[in-house]
Amino acid sequence: MAGSTPASPTADGLALPAVMRARSNSPWAEAWRRFRRHKLAMAGAVVLALITILVLFGPLFWQVAINDIDFTARLKGPSWRHPFGTDDLGQDLFARMLYGGRISLAVGLAAMMIAVGVGTLVGAIAGISGGKVDAVLMWFTALFLSLPQLPLLLLIIYLFRDVLKGIAGPEVGMFVLIVAVIGGFRWMPVARLVRAQFFSLREKEFVEAARALGATTTRTVTRHILPNSLGPVIVAGTIDVAAAIIAESTLSFLGLGFPPDIPTWGRILFDAKDYMDIATHWALFPGGAIFVTVLAITYIGDGLRDALDPRQVL
């Protein structure tokens, strides 16, 4: 606000006495104003933006091939030639991490979109239908919540890895599979959240007013209920990005993620584990990258929760 307000508000008022201020604060603009007051969240946003820019445009400037093998420079610590050091084949870790970061972030975003999409759909249908449909869908959600996730994840990847690789190629096929399994196991909290929001919102007077105006159910949901239930969903979605990045690195660390030639952060960590004692830097850099990214996203989620909660006056 400080930047846009004139130095003297009274002078402004005198200069434009009768003119109504045309500028209006939409709820989203209000939320953005509140978000900016959350220092940690803003720091998180800046860090995440930097990481994103780095992995997107970094390879344009750091033109070292990710599979450039150099046995004379095995397991070297950080230096000017190799800022993050090298691995056991003398490959440049900085280049590999810039490339892998793209995949890690993309997996996080895509898995979050699947989780939020499926969750919102299931929650919205349950929340607007109520009755038997709601009971069945919530039973289904509880079922998914009670599944032992990791063993099932491994099983699904074992079963479908080769099929998908055959259809879409090793890189895209694996990406689709990993995003689908991570997203497919994370939609349940979103579904419950959306359903609860729908239950409370559909009793609100403005929703009743829409029905009194003759609005169809579709219109009531898309124009009135859904936009007002998005706040908590966005917060949950942010946390989901962080959780998906961790889940991907877990899978990669177990050797079930992307193939070795696609160096996601989790995969680099997996490869580093055997040399932890002699080449600590190898594990520290990908681990640190995951840590910083997830922390930044979590703080952004924190800030969003405060900013999107209309009851909070800041």
């Binding site: 109504m20 209006s24 009743e208 007013a209 003759g214 007002n228």
Partner: protein, 325 residues
Amino acid sequence: MSEPLLRIKDLVKRFPVKGGLLGGVVDHVHAVDGVSFELAPGETLGLVGESGCGKSTTGRCILRLIEPTAGEIWFEGKDVTALEGDALRRLARDMQIIFQDPYASLNPRMTVGAIIGEALIIHGLAKPGSKQFDERVVQLLETVGLHPDHRRRYPHEFSGGQRQRIGIARALAVSPKLIVCDEPVSALDVSIQAQVINLLEDLQQQFGLTYLFIAHDLSVVEHISNRVAVMYLGRIVEIATSKDLYTRPKHPYTEALLSAVPIPDPTVTRKRVVLEGDVPSPIKPPTGCHFHTRCPIRDLPLCSTQAPVLKQCGDGQWVACHLRK
């Protein structure tokens, strides 16, 4: 009286109460228990009673926002209870509602223009963004005393009274014939109440509107209504022109209500009728006359066994009491 605009006959609404081990229906809340009245075109009927007596449920049943359990609702010769789908949605062009809480009744994520103009889009009266749409929204804003520039703002930027005006403009957008006013001023400051009441009266004159005015403030109702119906536990106990009801109430419950209205003059003394106890639960309403448990003039066992029906006892005054005729 000419042909009524709206005729309600034996309207009943029971809400199921779920509970027990299996979550089955164990009981019913008898929110509206056989309500009948008529509304003439251009008239204002006040509907008063304590909280929970079924006033708002009655109003919402008329618009089919709540499905009535039984009874008939006739609007201009149409059976409202039989309408389905598109026909039911078209009913919205004839009947509208103004809500009590001006903070909960406007979508916080829509601009005022979008809120007011939504009905125009729903009923295909104007395309969003068209000149026609804009003109109608501006016209509606001016009708309710707001500035045309307000259409670009969001509800949270307005005061309670202004928000209620927005709600009124939204109801007027489809040019309805009947507006159910569900305690439209109860949530407002007294000074603002008068403004909104005056606005509603002006609009009635201007557009020939018919109001069903639900309230619990008797002085507000007296001011705006032609006739007043008093409800107690889901039933109408007395219905009369507002002059008759306020000067010579017949039903003991009406007497008690009126004696509770504060008189802004400390020197005036009058007989206070103080009722004992609380309103009985609408889950198990008393047998016979619902009011007999608290009635100062009851005649047992007659009052506790037979439910009194509304009987005419004078010109346009109807009362449901065994003892007052």
